[in-house]
Amino acid sequence: MPEYILQIKNLTVQANQKVILKDIDLDVEKNSTLILFGPNGSGKSTLIKTIMGISGYEIVKGDIFFEGKSIKSLPIHERARLGIGIMFQHPPKVRGVRLEQIANFLSSQEEKIKSLACQLNLDKMFHRELNFDFSGGEMKRSELFQVILQQPKLLLLDEPESGVDLENISLMGGILDFFLKEQKPASLIITHTGYILDYIQATTGCVMIDGAIHCIGHPQEIFETIRKFGYERCRKCL
């Protein structure tokens, strides 16, 4: 009997009075890596943000269970404290708050903060205000840095490689892979380009189209099919 860290049951979510996710069922096993593919606007980011509890996404029906307990009425910070960590695709600028302050909040191990910052080339950005004048790569590295320091049991990554050059993808991919292997959290990763698959060992893949989940299977195989035939093939599959 597999142990699940996250179970999504019959979840229907709407935003701005429009249904985005329809009757979703999805389970994430402990220490597994689930890749979520899907065309733009299919609802992938909505799913991740709903799990985190970001406002604007209303659960109309269904429930989300984290380690067996419903979290749908918990505020964001309590979900984070239970062990859910998110890497945002478009993090907001936070005026006046420096990366250093967040790092010190997330971890009391100074050495660890320093070495991770060095590995991610962030040591010179410590005094910068969060996401102000960060390049695409810097933003992603800072997101990854924060979420790793948070040591979540479930990692939600929303397009970790978008807007990042290949050099940075390889840097981030290596560190992410090490973290997944060492700390063994479960992860749910949205990817468009599939580049991240070259660095980590994904367990499962699934495709989301029009707010519903299809085609759960081997991630590399799914990605190859999408690469060759586009999401049109997935649609025909439905």
Partner: protein
């Protein structure tokens, strides 16, 4: 400070600490304390620095009379003459003080009208840090503080002045200050007012008379409900190759802030920037930013930016996703906004002021 406990009780001494005045074990090399119109401390252990009650100084050093009111004459402005007390600080030529000079003006009695005239002279090449704490005791209902300050930074002098106001919700405060800068002089003014006050209005001015002189004004303001803070900073440029920066950060938790700034170039080759940011933490409150740039010369580089807003939901939720509660997220954003890094403080002072700001901001939320 020895003997002080005979003049002030414990609660009053705590008031002084709130305004950043260290009256504990640590001896300060140069310090001054005036309670209402009584001067309790005026001492210097540094032969390079003279500190005296102003009346005494004018007698002891007849030359100082020349400076008394001079800053106002330069601007052709009138000033209030019926003052009692105030300090005279004279930093001699080439003297550098590492430890800040402490001065404190204390309101002790009810309905007292404290009116002081301060005179600060930094001679050629001197470098000095001054911290002034102005505060009111628990028993000083409905008092008024009027403070006139004249600063003279002579050739190449560096004058760093930090003023911390910590009044009562029924105190009325009107400081009036002018700094005169000679060639190559630097004047840095830090103003911090985080406690409730009925009304504080001021428009300190720096006049850059000499080439290559520089001024910088920084203000950190927190206006709680019932407080009115009308805080401006003005720089008048009367020589080329001069520069200035005015930075103001104001948080309203229900009170009113008027953040003024005026850069007036009466000379070409001036570089100046004015920045004003306001943050609302309450649906009540008023923040009014009035930045002004003025000149007849084309060859100047002057700019300003002003922004007012509240903390966005996205920012709070972003920090919440890292595990910070709404209160913690708000707190860290406000502390960041009121960042003492923007002040030009010496390290030894920075920590104390950091603590002071953190504590007050926490209480204010």
């Amino acid at each position: 400070m020895k003997g002080l406990d005979k003049k002030l009780n414990e609660k009053e001494i705590q008031c002084l600490a709130n305004a950043g005045l260290d009256v504990g074990e640590k001896e300060c090399l140069v310090s001054f304390l005036q309670s209402d119109d009584e001067i309790l401390i005026s001492k210097t252990l540094n032969p390079g620095v003279e500190i005296l009650p102003i009346e005494e100084a004018l007698e002891k050093y007849p030359w100082s009379k020349e400076f008394y009111g001079k800053a106002f004459q330069i601007l052709e402005e009138d000033f209030f003459k019926d003052t009692k007390g105030g300090y005279f600080i004279w930093v001699k030529k080439g003297i550098h003080t590492y430890f800040p000079i402490q001065a404190c003006l204390f309101l002790k009695k009810r309905k007292f009208f404290q009116r002081v005239h301060n005179l600060i002279i930094a001679e050629e090449g001197a470098k000095v840090y001054i911290i002034t704490g102005c505060t009111a005791s628990y028993a000083s209902q409905d008092s008024t503080h009027l403070g006139i300050s004249e600063f003279f930074a002579k050739k190449g002098a560096y004058l760093n002045f930090t003023m911390i106001h910590s009044w009562r919700e029924d105190t009325v405060v009107e400081p009036k200050s002018i700094a005169i800068l000679e060639e190559g002089a630097t004047f840095l003014s830090n103003y911090i007012c985080l406690r409730p006050v009925r009304k504080v209005s001021m428009y300190p001015t720096a006049v850059l008379l000499g080439n290559n002189s520089k001024a910088r004004f920084t203000s950190l303001l927190l206006a709680s409900r019932g407080s009115f803070q009308d805080i401006g900073s003005r720089v008048i440029f009367r020589a080329p190759q001069t520069s200035a920066e005015v930075v103001s950060r104001g948080v309203s938790t229900g009170g009113e802030i008027v953040a003024r700034g005026h850069l007036k170039a009466e000379s070409p080759q001036v570089k100046a920037h004015l920045e004003c940011r306001g943050l609302f933490l309450s649906p009540q409150g008023v923040i009014h930013a009035i930045p002004e740039l003025e000149t007849n010369y084309q060859d100047v580089d002057m700019s300003h930016e002003a922004a007012i807003g509240k903390i966005s939901k996205d920012e709070i939720e972003y920090l919440a996703s890292r595990g910070l509660s709404r209160e913690e997220a708000t707190g860290i954003i406000v502390r960041g906004f009121m960042d003492t890094e923007i002040l030009s403080l010496p390290q030894v002072l920075k920590k104390e002021i950091d603590n002071l700001t953190a504590q007050t901001v926490k209480k204010g939320l």
